[in-house]
């Protein structure tokens, strides 16, 4: 008789690995299938900022829940996962932006998170390389940074210690109704199958409303202490939600190595893997408005990645109505490193038929089934 798995997870990015992590706590027979290296998709391209994001009530709940889960894991993570409590410093570019800072503080505080308004003097004490004369910003001390690729591998390692299996180097060509077909023709059976293939999820589950959104990143040589917090411009969400073809927002992250990771751009250009030098120049120009000395640092590498964008900017986490054995965990846009753990918990809750700590409805999956 052929083996029947409790659950198969397709895709070994950080989301799939988080699903395997929590599923393996509840099910003895879990299999994760990854066609390439673990954590080698968008997970390898992302920034690793673990951030509570206030763009919608549902996103706030998901990011806050996921951050709590990360905080629980931090003491256990391998040093190579580089967990660091950098906090987030939201920087106001002008008085208009600064006037919204107190409202943002109240929102975070009313949800039980620490938040501190910094004035023009305090913000430069916190970050001496910021431009003089910035009106101030908001410090969220509870946010943090991890190294996504090693964190994904760590989650999968823990799942495997609990008995989960990994099948690597084989692509899934078809999934549905508990059947998973590999590119060598083999078919595997499971009680449920999780589509965690990120920005490719709509190819295995046709009709999922996911569009790739390209992002460029820049990394510098090592300049320890040049930037201390994850710095994000307050206009970031404006830029992230702009559905225009191209936008750039200032985002700087201190890596454990002393390197500075500079973001970020957003473009709808399909899966075009090329580096756009003009866009890189725009990102540096944008960063220079906040960190005037940044141009004197050496850049060692630039690269691109793809975010899996959905129409309402929320990930798709749930089962298909017409095929309850198929679960989807995809569409995490620019927050999948943060929200991976909560996603894994929700998927494990759905698979084991229990309630979740947060409302799952906003993430429910609906697909346009073409008949």
């Amino acid at each position: 008789m052929t083996e029947v798995f409790d659950g198969i997870v397709v895709g070994g990015g950080i989301v799939g690995c988080a699903c395997a992590y929590y599923l393996s706590e509840r099910f003895p027979k879990v299999l994760l299938i990854e066609k390439g290296p673990v954590g080698g998709g968008s997970t390898a391209a992302g920034m690793g900022h673990v951030v509570v994001m206030d763009d919608s009530r549902a996103q706030f709940a998901l990011t806050q829940y996921s951050q709590q889960l990360w905080n629980e894991l931090f003491p256990q993570l391998e040093p190579s996962c580089e967990p660091r409590s950098t906090g987030t410093l939201w920087v106001a570019a002008d008085e208009e932006e600064f006037s919204h800072v107190d409202g943002k503080r109240k929102l975070y505080e009313s949800n039980g998170l620490r938040a501190e308004v910094l004035d023009t003097k305090a913000i430069r004490e916190a970050e001496p390389h910021l431009r003089e004369g910035l009106p101030g910003g908001l410090l969220i001390p509870g946010d943090s940074v991890i190294y996504p690729m090693t964190a994904a591998a760590w989650l999968l390692d823990q799942a495997r210690l609990r008995g989960a299996k990994l099948l690597q180097g084989r692509a899934v060509v078809k999934m549905g109704q508990g059947k998973t077909t590999l590119d060598d023709g083999t078919t595997l059976d499971a009680h449920f199958v999780v589509n965690a293939t990120g920005d490719r999820a709509q190819t295995l589950t046709p009709g999922l409303p996911i569009t790739p959104r390209k992002g460029h990143l820049i990394i510098t040589d090592r300049y320890p202490g040049y930037v201390r917090h994850q710095l994000v411009e307050l206009g970031y969400l404006k830029s992230a939600h702009e559905m225009s073809n191209e936008s750039v927002a200032f985002n700087a992250q201190p890596r454990a190595t002393g390197q500075i990771l500079l973001g970020s751009s957003r473009q709808f250009v399909g899966w075009d893997p090329g580096i756009d030098r003009n866009l890189i120049a725009k990102m540096v120009a944008r960063a220079t408005e906040y960190l005037p000395g940044i141009g004197s640092l050496s850049v060692i590498r630039t690269w691109v990645g793809f975010r899996a964008t959905t129409p309402n900017s929320l990930p798709l986490i749930g089962s298909l109505q017409h095929d309850p054995a198929t679960l989807v965990a995809a569409g995490h846009e620019g927050l999948g490193i943060t929200t991976s753990l909560a996603t894994g918990k929700l998927i494990a809750d759905i698979a084991s038929g229990v309630e979740s700590k947060i409302d799952r409805n906003p993430f429910a999956v609906s697909v346009e089934v073409k008949s």
């Binding site: 040589d221 090592r222 004197s296 050496s298």
Partner: protein, 78 residues
């Protein structure tokens, strides 16, 4: 003209690259690797990045690509 290398003044002729100035003075190690090994110039043309020093407070500057300026502050192993 003079440059300051690790706090000490040295006379250099105009047009000398920082790498040449350091080599003339007798420095062979310009920087330290992450594990503390000594590293110095290899290619002399901006490609290998082994000659990085700190110039005027800015780290990771390729010594072979910069010409000495009067009163320049240069630090090795920074």
């Amino acid at each position: 003209m003079t440059v300051r290398i690790n706090g000490k003044e040295f006379e250099v002729s105009p047009g000398t690259s920082v790498a040449a100035a350091l080599l003339n003075i007798g420095y062979s190690g310009f920087r330290r690797s992450e594990t503390g090994e000594s590293r110095g110039p290899v290619c002399g043309m901006g490609i290998c990045l082994e000659c990085r020093v700190q110039i005027g407070g800015v780290r990771h500057v390729r010594a072979c690509m910069v010409t000495c300026q009067d009163h320049m502050e240069i630090e090795t192993d920074a």
